[in-house]
């Protein structure tokens, strides 16, 4: 077993953009050859390696190629060029309950979803109690899922996901739908998997999640790798870039020099914090306090 769970070399994915994607036969006959539209590279020449047992974050703006990357890694898309090696039992969690069929009962959907997830009938039966327990939706389990509340739907979907024990987990950020308690349950589960040595590939817009969870991160821009490295560094550069853009945007629109600063101001302005200092034990300014207690002093007017 190599030390890498995933290795991608010069990975590229091209899409043909066409206003009329599914051209009818009539159009084909009338116009002769089918117009192919113009090409769009959702991912271009991306090479990266993901170490076994590590957590890998994908950041970038909307349309930068994060989800495309994930779908290529999950096998849903075939790369246009380049190669990808995925070594391990993969589980891709891309959307909540997308395999549910409204007319089937919760229990029947568990079996169907288990099959979609690659489990055998025996494995689903073995995990059934665990799933029912985690979902905690009681007698509703034997009713069609179309009458479920969205919360129950989500609970059941997640309970099925929990019963998996993948070696590589790919997670596309799904906006939290459940209540606070449920969200925590999800996060706890992710942290738990990470502790157990599962390789996790995470697409997220939350830089907090990148910093908290990820070891390595990749910042994509227009389908190309902008930065690849330790999660903290990538998150910082990404944030710096976003801030810089915001400043530029304000300068263009507002023209004021202090626009950037003004835009970050919070509150009513009755009291202003003009500076903030970190002090060490002796009360001397010290910006870095590795593992020691200190005080913070702010000046207001």
């Amino acid at each position: 077993m190599s030390s890498y769970a995933i290795r991608a070399e010069n990975l590229s994915k091209r899409f043909w953009l066409n206003a009329e994607r599914h051209t009818s036969l009539k159009a084909r006959v009338v116009r002769g050859k089918l117009p192919r539209g113009h090409e769009f590279w959702a991912l271009r020449d991306a090479s990266f390696e993901i170490e076994r047992g590590s957590t890998f974050g994908l950041v970038g703006q909307n349309g930068s190629g994060k989800s495309t990357t994930l779908k290529v890694l999950a096998g849903i898309y075939r790369p246009t060029s380049g190669s990808v090696v995925v070594d391990g039992r993969v589980s891709a969690l891309l959307e909540l309950g997308s395999g549910f069929h409204g007319d089937l009962t919760g229990r029947e959907n568990i079996r169907l979803n288990g099959a979609i997830l690659g489990l055998t009938g025996k494995q689903v039966d073995a995990a059934m109690d665990k799933i029912l327990d985690f979902a905690g939706i009681g007698e509703f389990i034997d009713l069609p899922v179309k009458i479920y509340s969205s919360g129950m739907f989500v609970r059941l979907a997640f309970a099925i996901a929990v019963s998996l024990d993948p070696e590589i987990l790919m997670v596309d950020e799904v906006i939290a739908v459940g209540d606070e308690e449920f969200q925590r349950k999800c996060f706890d589960h992710l942290f738990d998997l990470r502790k157990r040595g599962t390789t996790i590939v995470l697409v997220t817009h939350s830089l907090g999640l990148i910093r908290d969870m990820c070891d390595q991160a990749m910042w994509l821009e227009h389908g190309q790798i902008r930065k690849l490295g330790p999660a903290m560094e990538v998150a910082d550069s990404y944030l710096a870039d976003i801030n810089e853009r915001e400043v530029q945007a304000h300068q263009v629109s507002g023209g004021e020099e202090s626009a950037a600063n003004e835009s970050k101001r919070l509150g009513s302005g009755e009291v202003r914090i003009t500076s903030l200092e970190f002090l060490d034990g002796e009360g001397k300014p010290n910006p870095v306090l590795p593992g020691r207690y200190g005080r913070a002093r702010d000046r207001r007017r």
């Binding site: 290529v72 849903i76 007319d103």
Partner: protein
């Protein structure tokens, strides 16, 4: 948060997609079939009974119109008894219905499973095979009813033992054709409409409600009987009638013909799948 549908597949080292056979997906195919069967009659009062009511109604209608109104007759049973039109018709209708319903249900099935195909990887043939399997279950029930009817008429013989061979060839033939059409339908949406028209035409160009001897050999210079004989469905229907109704063994040429049609359909399905079926996730 991250949850819901995902995919787990076997260890691999070549690419992101597992190189598994159809066999590896049997459990998923079976589950798609179960989903189809369970959801089809859900909420209806008669439930499963509908799957038998519909063919029964068709059988009654055709028998009434062709046997009573048009005075069509059926050939004698293989055991020498006078033929019974409804029974003779049933032997032809069962394979036709399997063919018709499998094609009609399979064609939109990839579109119906589009969201799923965009979220998880599984081969695009899985939902089509699932749909075909669900219809096969109903067809097998119809076959059992047919067997009972033939028993009542005392029309049994050793040729019945060939039925599984015939069925295997027919199921593979129909499923392969349905898969090809379902995949092409993703790229050319007109296909579903065209196939609808073609199926109606094909039904009347296949000797199901009439005996092939009724078809004029040449009509205005068109060799109609030869044309009707060219259709693979004619071959399959005729050979089933031979072994189940006439209690005659189809000759070697007939078997080879069935085998050739089946092999051709499989080759077509393989080509279409390799050429157009691998990127369904981004095409639906």
């Amino acid at each position: 948060m991250p949850c819901g549908v995902g995919l787990t597949y076997g260890r691999m080292s070549i690419a992101a997609r597992p190189r598994s056979s159809i066999w590896a997906y049997r459990f998923l195919i079976q589950n798609f079939a179960q989903r189809d069967l369970k959801s089809r009659f859900k909420g209806t009062l008669l439930g499963w009974a509908w799957s038998l009511m519909v063919p029964l109604a068709t059988l009654t209608t055709y028998s009434l119109v062709f046997s009573v109104f048009f005075h069509s007759t059926a050939p004698n049973f293989g055991n020498g008894r006078t033929g019974f039109f409804a029974v003779w018709l049933l032997v032809g209708l069962i394979p036709w219905n399997f063919f018709l319903i499998t094609i009609l249900i399979s064609m939109p099935t990839l579109l119906a499973n589009g969201t799923l195909l965009q979220k998880v990887y599984f081969p695009s043939y899985v939902p089509v095979l699932g749909a075909a399997l669900a219809i096969l279950v109903q067809t097998l029930i119809e076959c059992c009813i047919l067997a009972v009817v033939l028993l009542v008429f005392g029309n049994i013989g050793p040729t019945w033992l060939l039925f599984p061979v015939w069925l295997a060839l027919f199921v593979v033939f129909v499923t392969a054709l349905a898969l090809s059409l379902a995949i092409v339908n993703i790229h050319v949406r007109d296909l579903a409409q065209m196939v609808n028209v073609a199926l109606t035409l094909l039904f009347f160009l296949t000797p199901i409600i009439y005996q092939i001897s009724l078809v004029p050999t040449v009509w205005h210079g068109i060799p109609f009987q030869e044309l009707v004989r060219l259709s693979p469905i004619t071959d399959f229907v005729t050979s089933l009638r031979q072994l189940a109704y006439d209690l005659q063994e189809p000759d070697l040429t007939a078997w080879l013909q069935l085998l050739a049609w089946t092999a051709g359909a499989v080759a077509l399905a393989y080509f279409v799948y390799q050429r157009y079926g691998l990127d369904i996730g981004e095409s639906v």
